[in-house]
Amino acid sequence: MVDQPIVEVRDLRKTFAVKHAGGVSTLHALSGVSFEITRGETLGLVGESGSGKTTAGRILVGLIPATGGSVRLFGADITGAEGKKQLAGVRSRLQFVFQDPYASLNPRMRIGGAIAEPIDIVGTHSRKDRNDRVAELLELVGLPRNSIERYPHEFSGGQRQRIVIARALALNPEFVVCDEPVSALDVSMQAQIVNLLLDLQDRLGLSYLFIAHDLAVVRAVSTRVAVMYAGSIVETAPKAQIYSDPQHPYSRALLDAVPRADPDFVRHPVVAGEVPSLLDPPSGCSFHPRCGLAMERCRVERPLLQDSGPGRRVACHLFSR
C-alpha cells in the first residue's frame, strides 16, 4: 500500500491587508504554494525574509487562516467549510516549535509545569501518569530530572530549546512544524539540537516541516528541500540533488551566496538586487528582475512548478518544454 501523504498543501494563498497613509494595500504573502509531506519525512522549507516560509508553517498548524487553496492534514481538510471542526480532530497529532526559546516559555512557570501543560489541558492523565510522562520527556530530550523544579532563566538557549521540544512531544504528535528552531543558537549548541531532532525522528517516527534560512542546517535535517522566493516555491527536489545540481537560477544564487568555512573557496559573482516588494510583486516570474538568464517570456508569464527530473519540480521557463 502506498502511504497517503500526511500533509497535502494545494495552491495555498495568503494575503494580508496593510494599512498606510494612502489607504489599504494587499500584501501577497503566499501566491499558490503546493507541497506534500509523507510519513517519516522531513521537508526543508528554505528562503530569505519575506519568502513566505513562516506564513506557510503557521497556516499548516491552524494558527492563521488561509485566503485560498487547501491544506489537508492526515486527510482532514482544515481549510474548508468544516475547517475548524476538522482541525480539532487532528489537533493533538501536530505541534509547533518556534525560533525563540526565550519567548516560548513562561518565565514564571517551572519547567515541569511547562512541559506538562499540554497534558493538563487534555486532562486525561492521572497525577502519577502525568509526572511519569514529564520525567520520560526530560530524559528523551537529554535534560536532568531535577529540571522539573527550576525556572526558564536558569537554562541556556540550547537547553530551553530542549524544554520547548519536550513540551511539543508531550502528546505524542506525529508531525512537527519547526520554524527556525536553531537560528537563535550558537554553532556548538545548534549542532546538538539538530542531532536531537534527528534522533527523535528515528525513535518516534516523526515527520517534520523544517523552516529555515540556513541552507547548510536544512541539508543536515531534510529528506527533501523546497526553495521559496517571494511567496512561491521555485524548486523542490530530494536533498542531494538540490545542493549538487540546483536548477532554478534563484536556488543557484542562494547557494552561491552562502559563505563557506573554507578560505580556499572561490565564490561565484554575487546576485544583484533585493527581494521584491510583496505589495507590488513583479510581473511574470518574481525573480526575473534579478535573474541573469531572464528572457522576454519571464517578464510576462508566471512559470508554474513542473516536473524536471525524478522527484524534482522547478518553476522556471528555462525548463519548460
Binding site: 556548538s188 549548541m189 547548510a216 552562502v258 568555512a261 573554507d262 565564490r267
Partner: protein
Amino acid sequence: MSALLSIRNLTVQFRVDSGWVTAIDDVSLDVNAGDCVGVVGESGSGKSVTALSILQLHDRVTTRMPSGSILYQGHDLLRIKGSAMRRIRGSEIAMIFQDPMSSLNPVLTIADQISETLRQHQGLTGAAARKRVVELLGLVRIPDAARRADDYPHRLSGGMRQRVMIAMAIACKPRLLIADEPTTALDVTIQAQILELLRDLRRELSMSVMLISHDLGVIAEFAQRVVVMYAGRVVEDAPVAQLFRRPVHPYTMGLIAAVPRLDSDALRLTTISGRIPGPQEIIPGCRFSPRCALVQEGCLDEPPSMHPVSDGQSARCPPRILALSERHG
C-alpha cells in the same frame, strides 16, 4: 612593521549585584595597517566587549579595566584625554553594528544623519556637505543616491540601511573600521553583497578592518588573520588559511567541525559537548576544559597563557602545542 592598533593584556570587568564579573580576560591582539582581522566566537566570548573597549563605549560607572592597554599609533587610548578620544572616534576609528535600524535616527533623513558626521569632524556644511553625502551614498552603491539621500530610514531595506551605516562610517576616511556582526541581521544574498562592498572599500580606501562575527564562513571569506575567542579569552590567533587547515586549540577544532556544511552527507552533525559557561561561573584553569575532549590533568591547575606554535600562529593550549611539536620532531 608596527601595528596600527595593539591591544595588550586587556581585562574588562562589569559591575553586577554581587560584585565585578570579568567579561574579557588578558586579551591581546594586533591590527596592522591594511590588515583585515577577523574575531570569531560564540555568545559571551567577549568579542563585542573587546570592540567596544577600543572606542571606549562602555558605561564608565559600571565598567573597569584593571589591566591592559590599547595602543593606537603609539597612544594608549585608555589614557588619553576625552577630547582626543572624541577626535579619534568616528574620524580615525569608525564602527558599524549588527542592527542598522537601531543605529539610525528614525526622524532624520539619511542626508541629515551623514551630514552630522561631516560637520563634526570635517566642518562641512550646506552644499559642500550635500555633495559629499551623495558621493558617499554612491560609494556604497546605493542606486539613485541623490534621491535616496532625502529618504527616512524606514523607507530603506535592511541591506540599504547597512549601506547607509557604512557610508557614515567611511565619511571621514577612517584608518580602522570595526564591523561588529555587520551582516548577521541580513539575508544571505544581501550579506554577500555587503561583504563584497566592504572588501572593495577596504582596498579603495586602504583602511584596516576588524570584523567581528560568529559565522566561520564569513570569517573564512573576509579575514586575513583570525582571532578565536572563548569565554572571555583569546584561545587562538592565526593566519586564516592556517587556522582552517591546522587548528591548534581544541575549541577551534570543535568549532570548525560543528559548522554544518553544504557538501556533507553525514547523518549527524559534529557537536561540542556541554555548554558555554556564563561569565560568573568559576572554572579553574583552562575555561574550555569542562568541554574539551583532549583535557589532561594539568589543564585544571592554572589558566594557560598564549604560546607561539609557528609562523604567526599562537594558541592558549600548551599540551596541544607540545604534542604537535613532538609529532613534527
